[in-house]
Amino acid sequence: MKAVSRPSRSGDPATPPRRAGYSFNWVGRIGLGVILFWGLVAIFGPALAPYPPGEIVDWDYFSPMSADYWLGTDYLGRDMFSRILMGARYTVGIALVAVTLACTGGVVLGMVAAVIGGWFDMILSRLLDAFNGIPSLLFGLVAVAAVGSSIPVLVLTLAAIYLPGSYRFARALAVNINTMDFVTVARARGEGTPYLIAREIFPNILGPVLADLGLRFVFIVLVLSGLSFLGLGVQPPNADWGALVRENIEGLSLGAPAVIFPSITIATLTISVNMFIDNLPTKIRDRS
């Protein structure tokens, strides 16, 4: 094949290659900042805690904020500040891993079902619909009974509970993209399903899938405390933030900081995750 060299005659000016701009507004930056802060707390928190999380430091339960107990004490008289630092590792860690597992699983299966279609898509959709029919409580109990309770089991159970929802969402998006001509051209070229999914479909559904991940993250943080109360996963004296709120709930009527601060921490984490995702650097965002 001879290379055809020819000065370009077309009228279009060859503009210099502009690096893709990443305009990232301040709301997104705040969100990212808070997430990184809690990420650091999750890693270094327990080491910084002034008191061991389980130690009963003061007889006076639900004591107000004071010099030596910055966020007061909980229902057993343990230092709330150290318990929140300890809780960060569980809530941030478990929830992030679980939501990533649930969403990656759901998105991949969704895309495969959309691309292969036919009986595979029908059966998989029905199976995961049936999954949705089983209440999460029964799920948690069976997990504890079957494999005993540990952090990995807790993560897998959470992921399994939220995978069907993410599957359903991703599949609907992927079915749309699948009808586009660029997918047909790739298919005509003889590309296999893995290439179609990884390079043609996934980049185009990334935006909405991330937004869905943000919302699912919020639900997982809350269900996480429910499952721990069932005796699945985080064992005393440790606890995730949701469990901290639940075990100190009677402090609510006394306005005890022990119940208010974990709720605030949960709120800041979940809101910042969603603020970040809703305002992702526009370059990625615009593609969807």
């Binding site: 389980g54 009963i56 639900f62 057993l76 005796g231 699945l232 004296p237 009677e250």
Partner: protein
């Protein structure tokens, strides 16, 4: 019966009252009490204010809404199957028992006119006459025989099958008298017959959902797991009461929800509001609390036949490692009495007062653990919300252990199926025992070698012999001495540690009166319906 600390005066009461109102924290209160020398351990919780109901004249009428704390589709009106407090309350309102335990724990006659025996082995029960069931059928000995006999039939699944099995023969002598022959002499039969499960039902009843009994109320609405309504029995055989026109009973499992329902006036009486809501209730003048220590306790069980319980010194070490004050204060907010590792509660007349509880002595515990070679090895403590405050106790024990290098791992397991899968089976676990009126029942149920609930597999012939001897003797002096010694044996040798006896706290509107405490449990031994009345 709640005992007041001996030197407790009205003035102290007022002082405690205004200290709390000024927001004094619990620590200041403790310091103040220590200074004034009021003995803490002498029973009676610090914050308890025994409000003696001024002897007002009861008024009839009004309908009461009360709430218990646990309910499920397994709610039943069959006394034999009753498991939850909700069942007991409903049964007490529609049935009667042969005998009744009063506030002081003494036996009073109810359906029975007289229960007599000269050798504590063959007993003669003569019934009162003129008593009819709600459906009009008169009460006869056949009903009593049927009601007692059915506990032996496994198909009924009676909760007191193991206790009833000692009644080898139950027969009707004539229309008004019943003969009961025991397999071995037991002076406590009248007290046993006061248990809730021995309520008298009509002969041949199979469908218990109608609730046909001789009690003070007639069952009107019964929705298992939801609610029940009973109305006053117009021709009740007792001269006095019931005062209420009707009682609606529901169950609210969430503690704070139950307290809030009481405070917002949706319900008039909330059973077992839990120690943690005390601070909220204190400030309310429209609500009153009633505290009673009935002998319910959560205990730490260490199987003597399994590692680590089988290591010499481990059990004793754990008994020294239990910080009883910490459990009393943090886990129960002071609403519990320090226990001395034996099951007979202070409110029971056979309680051995000079058996002192072991002090919290971590150093001694450490020495014992070193001899047992257990320092550093991981020891799991199985706890669950099914056993009241067991998770908190395990956490407190875990912290105490950490300071002396012991590595306790708390396994919180679901309360679902706890009693069948973990209780009695795990090497170190927590149990929870409901109050029983007599030491004989407690020891034969929990500590005898062949006891069905031998939590720590404690086996001792000497102990078994003393149990039978005490059971048969009618001589009070001798009986009390034996029971005192048995309590010391259990406290030293048995694999169970009982840090505290839990006080039950009920709360009701100030308009409700007539409530007294009862050894069979809170809510006046669940029989409040018949005795309480409402101001108009």
């Amino acid at each position: 019966m709640t005992k007041n600390p001996t030197n407790w005066t009205g003035r102290d009461d007022a002082m405690v009252e205004d200290m709390i109102r000024r927001g004094a924290t619990r620590r200041d209160l403790l310091r103040m009490l220590m200074a004034s020398g009021a003995g803490l351990a002498a029973g009676g919780s610090v914050l308890m204010r025994a409000t003696e109901a001024v002897a007002q004249t009861p008024v009839s009428g009004g309908s009461l809404r009360a709430a218990g704390w646990s309910t499920s589709t397994a709610d039943t009106l069959d006394p034999a199957k009753a498991t939850l407090s909700t069942d007991y309350v409903r049964c007490c309102s529609i049935y009667n028992r042969l005998t009744f335990l009063n506030e002081a724990g003494e036996v009073e006659m109810e359906l029975a006119e007289e229960i007599a025996s000269d050798d504590a082995k063959t007993w003669q029960v003569t019934l009162r006459d003129g008593i009819t069931f709600h459906d009009g059928k008169p009460l006869t000995s056949a009903d009593v025989v049927f009601s007692l006999q059915r506990h032996l039939d496994p198909a009924v699944g009676s909760k007191v099958n193991s206790i009833a099995s000692q009644m080898s023969e139950i027969s009707a002598v004539d229309d008004k008298t019943v003969k009961i022959v025991l397999s071995s002499a037991n002076a406590d039969l009248p007290t046993i017959l006061a248990l809730h499960h021995f309520m008298i039902v009509a002969d041949g009843t199979t469908d218990f959902s109608k609730g046909n009994g001789t009690g003070a109320f007639i069952m009107e609405v019964f929705e298992p797991g939801v609610r029940s309504v009973v109305v006053k029995n117009p021709n009740y055989w007792k001269p006095e009461g019931p005062y209420l026109d009707s009682l609606e009973f529901v169950a609210i499992s969430d503690d704070s929800a139950r307290v809030n329902a009481l405070l917002s006036g949706d319900i008039d009486y909330a059973g077992s509001v839990g120690a943690r809501s005390m601070r909220l209730l204190k400030g309310q003048d429209s609500v009153e609390t009633a505290v009673s220590t009935s002998g319910n306790y959560t205990n730490l069980n260490m199987r003597l036949d399994l590692h680590p319980g089988d290591k010499a010194g481990f059990v004793e070490g754990m008994k020294y490692l239990l910080n009883r004050e910490a459990i009393q204060q943090s886990a129960f907010r002071g609403l519990a009495e320090i226990g001395n590792d034996q099951p007979v509660p202070p409110s029971n007349r056979y309680h051995n007062p000079n058996l002192k509880a072991r002090d919290y002595d971590p150093e001694r515990a450490k020495a014992l653990f070193e001899t047992a070679g257990l320092v550093g090895t991981e020891i799991p403590l199985v706890a669950s919300d099914a056993a009241n405050a067991s998770v908190d106790m395990a956490t407190i024990l875990q912290q105490a252990g950490r300071e002396i290098g012991m590595n306790f791992k708390v396994d919180r397991v679901p309360s679902d199926g706890y009693w069948s899968n973990y209780w009695l089976k795990a090497p170190v676990h927590f149990g929870n025992i409901n109050p029983r009126p007599t030491p004989d029942i407690l020891f034969s149920l929990l500590y005898a070698s062949d006891a069905p609930w031998n939590e720590s597999q404690y086996k001792s012939e000497k102990f078994d012999a003393m149990l039978i001897e005490a059971r048969a003797s009618l001589d009070e002096e001798k009986r009390t001495a034996i029971y005192w010694e048995m309590q010391e044996i259990v406290a030293d040798d048995a694999g169970t540690a009982i840090p505290v006896y839990i006080s039950n706290v009920d709360a009701h509107t100030t308009k409700m009166h007539g409530l007294k405490s009862n050894p069979l449990g809170n809510m006046m031994g669940y029989a409040f319906a018949e005795y309480v009345w409402l101001e108009s």
